[in-house]
Subunit: 405 residues, 2 copies
Amino acid sequence: MSRNCLVAQSGGPTAAINSSLAGVISQALKSDAVHTVYGAKNGIQGVLNDNLVALNDIFAKEEQIERLKNTPSMYLGSCRYKLTDYKKDTSDYDKICEILDKYDIGYFFYIGGNDSMDTVAKLSAYTRDKGLDVKVIGIPKTIDNDLYCIDHTPGFGSAAKYIAASVLEMAHDTYIYAIDTVLIVEIMGRNAGWLTAASSLARTSYSDAPHLIYLPERAFDKKDFVQRVKELLKEKHHVIVAVSEGIKDEDGNYISAQGGKVDKFGHVMLSGTGKVLESIVAEEVGCKVRSVELNVLQRAASHIASETDIEESFCLGANGVRLAMEEKTGVMSTLNRVSDEPYKVVYGEADIEKIANYEKKIPDEWINEDGTDVKEPMERYLRPLIQGESKVAFVNGIPSYMFLR
Amino acid sequence: MSRNCLVAQSGGPTAAINSSLAGVISQALKSDAVHTVYGAKNGIQGVLNDNLVALNDIFAKEEQIERLKNTPSMYLGSCRYKLTDYKKDTSDYDKICEILDKYDIGYFFYIGGNDSMDTVAKLSAYTRDKGLDVKVIGIPKTIDNDLYCIDHTPGFGSAAKYIAASVLEMAHDTYIYAIDTVLIVEIMGRNAGWLTAASSLARTSYSDAPHLIYLPERAFDKKDFVQRVKELLKEKHHVIVAVSEGIKDEDGNYISAQGGKVDKFGHVMLSGTGKVLESIVAEEVGCKVRSVELNVLQRAASHIASETDIEESFCLGANGVRLAMEEKTGVMSTLNRVSDEPYKVVYGEADIEKIANYEKKIPDEWINEDGTDVKEPMERYLRPLIQGESKVAFVNGIPSYMFLR
């Protein structure tokens, strides 16, 4: 007897989270055990609000699956909603189970990062305790690459490719004038420096930028930074610095907060880490300096997504459906690397309890002693993840993406 | 009797200026009238410093021409150097002519924007006055699209395509949460709003972003802006604003300067127009707000260059060589549009005196009455310029560009 399935997306966007959604939809549509594929709009809030949409007709044609794979952000919308502990308050769970029952949902797939895996952990524990026949499966995503039990996270490779290409292009932009110039590139990552480390992939036979890489895994020393910039400017006209938004000083204070000036109403003026480093260089080095914040484009630029990332994200979605068909619940779909050259991964599962609410940081031995660069194992790890180019179609000169009204 | 030619690049980078260089080199290499093609490093300063490099061997293979076409920024480096009035001081001119004579240069091609055309105007006038047999030709470039005597400038189309695609991708990124959100996108353009107007190309059947477009051609009214954002938020959760860096208030003061706070040393803190509008929304509307400065990526992102722009830029370079062979001097290579549909241009020439030091702004009738959007003729004008995609090759997951050591 076939039942219905439900899929939703949560947390921050990536260029690959819709590819995981496409993988879930595609695999579910192929399965005899699934009748209707429902999507909940705006994550678990869409379930709580009974805001479900049937997806079978929209994705009946293979070409729509392809378009979805290459569309940035979240086709089903997102939310940031943390379920309560059901041992204290079951109201959210009662409501969710009412909806699951109403739509005869046998399989629930939740695509997201750390916080979303917390939802999977809680909901799967609850349904198991209650003896409800609903398989709850987590599908990973996050540009931050900070999940445990998976070699790397879907969405990270595309962001890494955007960062590497953009840093190279900005290096070309910087090298043209024969005057001392410092470029600061601020990259996402509050606690883990994976994305900033990916800037090292911009290096080529002719360009050694970035010349300094600052990660949240190490304390940032302002004096040492100024000294290094001055030394580098003696060797070369151009110094390019990649910095994580989340770097802190040795007392654990965010560097970004230190540039915060107060406006006439007493509000702290918004100021990013890159701007703070720009001010430091302007004041203490005195050369031409510019800062660039890659901002949301690093997670949304599907036009330069990594093909490897998009395909793996699709497979992780499809693998999640297979896990559910095997009667698994409370697990996350994962991939593990079995070889660097040739690059090869296998798909599997991990107990959700081992993943939710933990953050994977860069291993200490992959960062140089000075805390200003990454070491060789990092490139071996990263390089395969940015291989291959996006298959985005362009119509009217701009990318052709999907949108759910 | 064949002579040698010299080419140089000047001003700010674009994704297409190397394509014009490729056009000059390719056409000159084919010409019996040219023996050696020299490039001067760092523009006219490279001529003054006798820093020339022979390019024939590097570009003997067609594939190198193709790589150069798709490489961002300036292969030969750049400078910002204004020649003096030769009626007052001939020292720069004497030095330049000494170098031109030393290398037997019969043709000098200078690729650049407004300021570079000033160099072409002065140098061609000088050589003409002196009766020197050197043809001096200007090849246009500027992302700003603010040159006269040309339908649109090389480099503009690629920047416009990057802006349109990025605004669409950021719109997808913004739409996912069901809460009121304002996104401010700051786009280059101190005096002319062409690049900001190109954000209108991001609109699709499902996305009407940007919802407000602010151009330097009209005074910016803060109160009216706040009112409009509030009104738009009543209709929809998400308001996306495209703004030129160079907008001013009705007294002619830059809006960007108004956010300038002073640090402990008395220096004005760097603050962009987008950040100022972000602060205004945070204070006066109070909803979630983010600002993104597209920064140098809008001029350097060759990976999403417009094929139309790259091909036209190449043809403008080649056309410049043809003009020199026809014994023209003191002219700029131009293109004029003869039809929108099908889009068609023809190449020609314009007297350099009509171009240097003028800025072409958006026609008043292409801006709506409120000064918050562009009107229909703008899309007809812009849309052909972003057609076709870059042919950049990727190696090791990143774009493969050329670099002169």
